[in-house]
Amino acid sequence: MPTREINGQSIEFDNEGFMTDRTAWNRDIAAVLAKEEGIETLTDRHFDVIDFMRKEVEEKGTAPSIRRLNKLNVVPTKELYQLFPGGPAKKAAKIAGLKKPEGCI
């Protein structure tokens, strides 16, 4: 499992670049991860999404779907795609320090 140094902290990732321990996460790490995903600055709107996702994982064990974020008025789907271009579910989870979202079949 790849370990990387971020802001002086040593952080573990899985092979697809998702953090393996969400408790090691903080906002500064998020900023670094966001840059790697092509998002220059994280705004309050980004953090509305990130904080809500982390809260749901804490409480329910699974990250909310795009549809759930929309339904609970956290962020409309259209805006979510603008905030995290090209695959918001995965990108937002990555930046939020969460596991890769489970794909369903």
Binding site: I66, R67, K78, Y81, G87, E102, G103, C104
Partner: protein, 409 residues
């Protein structure tokens, strides 16, 4: 009298009533099953209707033919489930109380969830094949079609029978070839998934088949809206794809009654224990088939495997014993690949589809993850099995738990 109430008499509800009626003591238990439709549709058959292989009469039978004696059958809509009162209100005004409730209300397409899908183009050059009406309307359209761009779009996951869109593409390619139209049609498969399918080995194989058949694959496309006036589907991030014929697999959702009852998630699927099939919210409610939120495939074969588990656990619950039977996510799907051939996949929560022989290790007669004529016969035989064995709750020559024997890792 104690009461067992089953909501929905589709694949899963019908299997359950047939398994339970013979074993529950009639002097102790009253079994009731509710559904709003009197006709049972063999949904896997819808796939063949657009190409004239089946017609409507090949996929319907009266539900009455499949209910055991001694069971109360009510044809009515379900209005609302009230778990706190252990009762269900029907749309015809009746109120049914229960000791145990089995929810088997399935999943349905909701095209109205996508802006512009149900508008000017609907059933003119936009069709679904997940409903009987859609499949029949598409058959009619194709009869007179002279070609153009045919786009198949899966709007959102999860969908029931996740391989059905691929089968549609393979069959369409075969049918167009037979009609002498293949060179007049561009076929494109547009999906929100990262590839042709989710599980890596199967995704690779299905993707290769698309290539071989000259069907263009566009992955990771999340449909935001349809511009029917200009014949385009448009993604949330503003990519667009033009079509002449749009075959859509719209958002799949659980029934509105589940939403009205406050029992569902954002897609009206019911949070369910993935091993015991007990509802997460209520001890005396169990859920089976497409109505669950399980990460298994939504398929008739899956409902059948779940039925073995639910049967054990429901009887345990009724007798105050712990729930020991565990569903492993087993799914078994025949995939039509066109030109009289098919592919078979067998997998569960933890094991992706692997190559090998099935159901007899080393012998078959079916081949896993491989295209054979025999697999196609398996698919066509499934209809007979469905009506004559599966719905009646009979044993099939397949274990409900997935087997590793016969698979090559």
């Amino acid at each position: 009298m104690k009461k067992l109430l089953i909501l929905g008499a589709g694949t899963a509800g019908t299997i359950m009533v047939n398994k339970l009626a013979p074993v529950l003591d009639q002097s102790e238990w009253q079994i009731t099953i509710v559904d709003h439709h009197e006709t049972h549709y063999y949904q896997p058959g819808f796939l063949f209707i657009p190409f004239g292989i089946y017609t409507k009469k090949d996929v319907i039978k009266p539900k009455r033919d499949f209910f055991p004696t001694g069971v109360e059958v009510i044809f009515s809509g379900i209005d609302i489930i009230e778990p706190e009162k252990n009762q269900v209100k029907l749309t015809d005004g009746k109120v049914l109380s229960y000791d145990y409730l089995v929810i088997a209300t399935g999943s349905q397409i909701k095209p109205e969830e996508t802006e512009g899908l149900v508008g000017d183009g609907w059933r003119k050059n936009i069709f679904d094949f997940y409903t009987i009406d859609g499949a029949c309307a598409l058959a009619h359209f194709l009869k007179y079609w002279e070609g153009g761009r045919m786009v198949l779009n899966v709007v959102e996951m999860p969908i029931k029978c996740p391989v059905a869109p691929l089968e549609f593409e393979y069959l369409a390619e075969w049918w167009l070839t037979e009609q002498g139209l293949r060179d007049k049609v561009e076929i494109e498969f547009v999906t929100p998934l990262p590839g042709a399918f989710t599980k890596p080995k199967a995704s690779q194989l299905f993707g290769d088949f698309l290539d071989k058949k000259n069907i263009k694959l566009t992955p990771e496309f999340s449909t935001g809206r349809v511009d029917a006036a200009n014949n385009k589907i448009i993604s949330w991030d503003e990519q667009d794809i033009a079509y002449d014929l749009l075959v859509t697999v719209p958002t799949n959702m659980g029934d509105d009654a589940i939403a009205r009852s406050g029992l569902g998630d954002e897609l009206n699927f019911i949070p369910t224990d993935k091993e015991t099939l007990q509802s997460k919210a209520h001890e005396n409610i169990f859920v089976i088939g497409d109505a669950t939120d399980l990460p298994s495939s939504k398929a008739g074969s899956v409902a059948h495997f779940q039925a073995d588990i639910l049967y054990e656990n429901l009887l345990s619950a009724m007798e105050g014993r712990p729930l020991r039977a565990q569903f492993d996510g087993h799914a078994n799907c025949y995939i039509e690949s066109g030109f009289g051939k098919g592919i078979l996949i067998d997998f569960n929560y933890d094991t992706e589809p692997l190559p090998g022989k099935f159901p007899l290790p080393g012998i078959g007669p079916f081949s896993l993850l491989e295209e054979t004529k025999m697999n196609h016969y398996g698919k066509m035989m499934f209809r007979w099995m469905y009506w004559n064995l599966l719905l009646k709750g009979a044993e099939l020559p397949i274990e409900s738990q997935m087997m590793m024997a016969g698979k090559r890792v």
